[in-house]
Amino acid sequence: MYNLQQILLYTSSIAAVALAIFIFVKNKKNPISLSFAALCAASFIWLFCYAQMITARPENASFWLTAGTVGMIFVPAFSVFFILSFIKDTIKKTTYWLIFAPGAFFALSLILSGFFVSGIKTAEWGIYPQNGRLHVFFIIYSAAVILFGLKRILGYIKTDDISSIKKHKAIYLMLTYMLFLVLFVFDNLFFYNIFNFEPITHLIILFCLSTSALIISNYNIANLKVLSIKLVIFSFMLLLVLFITSHVAKFSDNIFLSNLFTFLLTIACFLLYKRVILKAEDLLLAKNKHYQNLLLHAASGMAQEHNLERLLKLIAIIVLKTIKVNFVAIFLENKEQKNFEIKILRSFSNSANELLFSYDYEHPFINFIQHKENPFLFDEIPQYIANSVVLPFKVALVIPSFYEGVRGFMVIGEKNNKDIFTRDDINIFKMLARQTSLAMGNCLFFDEYKQAQEKIFTAEKLASIGGLAEGVAHQIRNRLHQFSVLAGDLKYEILDCAKQQDKTISENKNLSETFAYITKIAESLETNVKKTNEVVSSILNYAKIESKQIMFEHFKFKDITDLSFELLSAKHKITDMGSLKIINDFKDDVTIFAIQAHMMEIVYNLIDNAYEAICEKYNILAGDSLKAYAPQIGISLSKKDKITTLHISDNGIGIKEENISKIFVPFFTTKSSAKSGTGIGMYIVKRIVTENLKGRIWIESTYMHGTDIFIELPNI
């Protein structure tokens, strides 16, 4: 026959030690572990020694009694000490004394005299201490000290700037120790001869230790509610089973039957326990389950949305409205700026919905998120990282979204009803995050698909325009040819006529004027035909470049520059100037890997512009400065770190500052209309450089001094 008391006490004492070791191993550095260990130690001594005492022989009992009661005396003191450590209260020296000194006093009175415990009594269930005169004071002291601890923890709960989680933990702790106060006092009443039944209220200390351990080991606090209910129901059932079986065993002589009964009863209770637990969970978490279902439902609908912006807005609003949180913010990765910037911000109070905020790739918070793949509570972050997150709202939960690396994350504020996020919540969010990643991936794919389609469409359009341009250009050229021929015809007819009628015309002033004028018109027609032709040529060239097959090849840079200068001299018939100096700052045999047509277009256009700039300056200068003018065009090509820099410079007329930005605008030209040129050259060059060759181009120029054009091209 076993002693219920003893078994309970033994198991409790071992459990106390196990808890202490568990907590200590998990949080070695935390000072709370020490205070908790102390409490566990005192509890262990109390429970273990009492276990020994209960079934000891009367002559041996007093040793165990003394030892155990000493342990019990210090339990209230250590529990308060534990509470104060938890709330990080600074414990003054006087407080220490007030808590522990009376305990020491009682302990001494127990050991040295009979005032605390007057003796032992033998009850039905075993040996127990008998109260002494001082014992009642001990009860008062325990109550006072625990009440003091509770008061402090109540004050802590009322402060404003602790997080929801900490608040909840403190509340649980307070409730636990309130229960402890009641049952501890009750337990001590067993010293008196009031009750006839066995004291099982020692178990209260085990309950306190378990809850405290859960609280300080950062176990997700949400489950504590459910867990404590489970614990209570379990303990109740266990006690019921043990109680019934022990009494049944007392009254039945048949061991087999009594064991069978125990067995059946255990199973029945177990099944009942399961039922009750489920029911309890449903009741407790009904509210949570409701919005969790809503979220799951919404998550499945997300895959339908193809527009990323709308998708994110949808998610934010859903989360905000179903869970009723303070705010929701969604951050998305911005690859160009190498940061995560806030895309959506929705708050319950509709304040600050427009917020510009971003975190760089190197920000500690971002680093932390990269390592955590699952949703996490803001309280789980180390303090220094939490401090670096500056948002206008208090953050409760962070949910990263993964799609080949962290693409973004959602930040959620506290629930409006100040409830905390449970484990179930976090699981639901995990699922939500996964759905979001898929949906986002979907959206991004659609975006890329749309862009690709647009590109194809543009290319097709250009190809058809290219073909069209050729046809149109051809037609226009034919008409221009007619114009040119007819204008020429006109001119020569007039000249012939003028020659033949020379005498008549020179005698008549009006007639000679008219003839001179008509001749001028005819010449002007010729010039205009030429100019129109040039416009057609530029556009045709541009269209050709776009629609031709692009072929990269190696070729000598010198070939391009030589050809450009050849074309230049052919176009301008370079004879009307002094010596133009051309400086080639590159090796003769240097090669580049690019599309020859593009490079030709670029170099020729730039050299042409340089030459014309020099011509314009030539026209403006006069006298000495004209004599001193030494026009030159410089071309340099340098390769460094996979980037090739082309630099074309001239000491021509330069560009006025207000015009520099307009240089690349199509059809903008500062050249007088009498000169050739349509203004489309630089536009074409810029497009080739930036779009086809993926480089960059910029200009530095000083009016009346010269111009430098720089082109940076990658990988040629």
Binding site: E470, A473, H474, R477, N478, L480, H481, Q482, F483, S484, V485, L486, G488, D489, Y492, D496, E526, V529, K530, N533
Partner: protein, 120 residues
């Protein structure tokens, strides 16, 4: 002795103008409005030079040139083209034209060229 040039073009006005233009330069001309015409006329007369528009109705200018070369390997011609692309360049050079001129023609340029070639 005055030189003689055959002008081939499918536009009448162009033919008329070219003829008058060359007349001022003291060059005699004959005109043909199509490739077939040109070949017929060339057979019956002798010419110092041929001015040929590439774009002709019916027979292509390049083909006309080939045939003329067969008839007279020493024939000297200059083609007028609306759109000089690189393959056309090689094509006609291999056929042995002395030069080409692009539409719309620059009359002073044309005058220079024709006087230059006709002298040789």
């Amino acid at each position: 002795m005055r030189k003689k040039v055959l002008i081939v073009d499918d536009e009448e006005e162009i033919l008329a103008f070219m003829a008058r233009f060359l007349k001022r330069l003291e060059i005699d001309t004959a005109t043909a409005i199509s490739g077939e015409d040109a070949i017929e006329i060339y057979k019956k007369n002798s010419f110092d030079f041929v001015l040929l528009d590439i774009h002709l109705g019916g027979m292509n200018g390049v083909d006309v040139l080939k045939i003329l070369k067969k008839l007279d390997p020493k024939v000297r011609a200059m083609i007028i083209t609306g759109n000089i692309s690189s393959d056309l360049k090689t094509d006609v050079h291999s056929l042995g034209v002395v030069d080409y001129i692009q539409k719309p023609i620059d009359l002073s340029d044309f005058k220079e060229k024709i006087l230059n070639y006709i002298k040789q």
